[in-house]
């Protein structure tokens, strides 16, 4: 077994530098690497290109990096819910590349899977396809999209082991597995780091080969963006 455990978040982020391209798992505030984000703020690394489906809210998630102006460019599918983001974007301080959500997911997977490019129908005939190669298959038009790599990927999982195997919980899975595949160095923070051999090999979502560093995270806030409920009967 190859041991991927690191002591803490500080050791996990060794080597993160100004100007790097980072992927961060999560959908909205669900399944985001809270510990890694806090450490990125602490490290004060700048000019980051961040690839994440969303950009957090003003005071949580990637919003924390935006407040400190650490992000030069965001690559996302949806960036609402964030006033500081809007301000920086409209003022031109922040570069934003918007990508259809399915294309974003597939471009991450492609990078991890050694597929440099693939055709997708998403965005054909729209400004997203401008300058891109298009092609017809079975009377439908497709756009050629390329793999999307990262220097570091920051992943949040529910359970993990020293071999780097990960299991996610509910919709906190989302982009995490593909981004784990696409990072040169993938750092996984987990709610529960279990003994090797405790995870059922059949139930592992992300095999350890995609994870270079893993640590037990702490103080998870797991903030809910839209608390929608029905009254108890």
């Amino acid at each position: 077994m190859i041991n991927k455990t690191v002591k803490n978040v500080h050791e996990a982020l060794t080597g993160v530098k100004d100007g790097m391209t980072l992927m961060l798992g999560g959908f909205g505030l669900c399944g985001i690497p809270e510990n890694c984000i806090s450490e990125l703020v602490k490290l004060e690394v700048k000019n980051l290109t961040c690839i994440s489906n969303n950009a957090g809210v003003d005071d949580f998630g990637l919003g924390l990096l935006l407040q400190k102006k650490q992000i030069k460019k965001m690559i996302s599918s949806y960036v609402g819910e964030n006033d500081e983001f809007e301000r920086q974007m409209l003022s031109g301080e922040l570069e934003v590349d918007l990508i259809p959500q399915g294309t974003l997911a597939e471009r991450c997977r492609a990078a991890g899977a050694g597929i440099p490019a693939f055709f997708t129908p998403a965005g054909y005939g729209t400004e997203i396809a401008e300058g891109k190669e298009t092609r017809e298959y079975n009377e439908k038009m497709y756009v050629l999209e390329e793999a999307l790599h990262a220097d570091f990927s920051f992943i949040k999982a529910w359970k993990g082991d020293a071999a780097g195997n990960l299991i996610f919980k509910g919709t906190a899975r989302n982009f995490n597995p593909m981004m784990a595949m696409a990072g040169k160095i993938t750092v996984a923070e987990v709610e529960e780091l279990v003994e090797v051999g405790k995870l059922n090999p059949n139930e592992i979502h992300t095999p350890g080969i995609f994870v270079q560093r893993i640590f037990q995270g702490k103080d998870y806030e797991k903030r809910i963006e839209q608390r929608t409920v029905r009254p108890k009967l």
């Binding site: 599918s77 529910w158 409920v229």
Partner: protein, 218 residues
Amino acid sequence: MALDKIGIAKRIAQELQDGWYVNLGIGIPTLVANYIPKGINVEFQSENGILGMGPFPFDGEEDADLINAGKQTVTLLDGASIFDSSLSFAMIRGQHVQLTVLGAMEVAENGDIANWKIPGYMVKGMGGAMDLVASAENIIVAMMHTNKKGESKILKKCTLPLTGVQCVKKVVTDLAFLEITKDGFKLLERAPGVSVEEIQKATEGNLIIEGEIPEMVF
């Protein structure tokens, strides 16, 4: 009388067929889930990774790790499954989802749709909309027939940046139920109490009126 949002959702719900997997967009489309016809089994797909999505949780039972694409806390029904974003969009792109319902700012008579960007305004992004409209074989748009100034949003040609081309199949607005044909918007039904003339007036795109146009039945 023009339909309210619930009326639009109710009319769209009538289009659901037994055995369909359905993706509902944010806003009016989400309401469709509340009006599934009796005797029909459908499953809702949420593009952040749920199949078999259920209603909101009971107060106190919400789980931060279980949300829908609108970031709302939800529940799972028996038979549900969870998956990652790439498999979720594999389902969508691979046309395993039989119906997509989403909102729009504009729809054109050739089926073009614009719903993600207004130049000069803050652009929040397309989320999964571009994948959904480019992939679904069956797209129903839920929208208001006109904007706040009374201008038609049912157009000859979209004026806003497109989300997808020639993809919308049907449109349910507060005024009418329209089908997109090669010649334009075919008027299928009128909202209760709304006249063909009112619909005609509110429609900039080519409106095809054949024979008697029935009122929607709820």
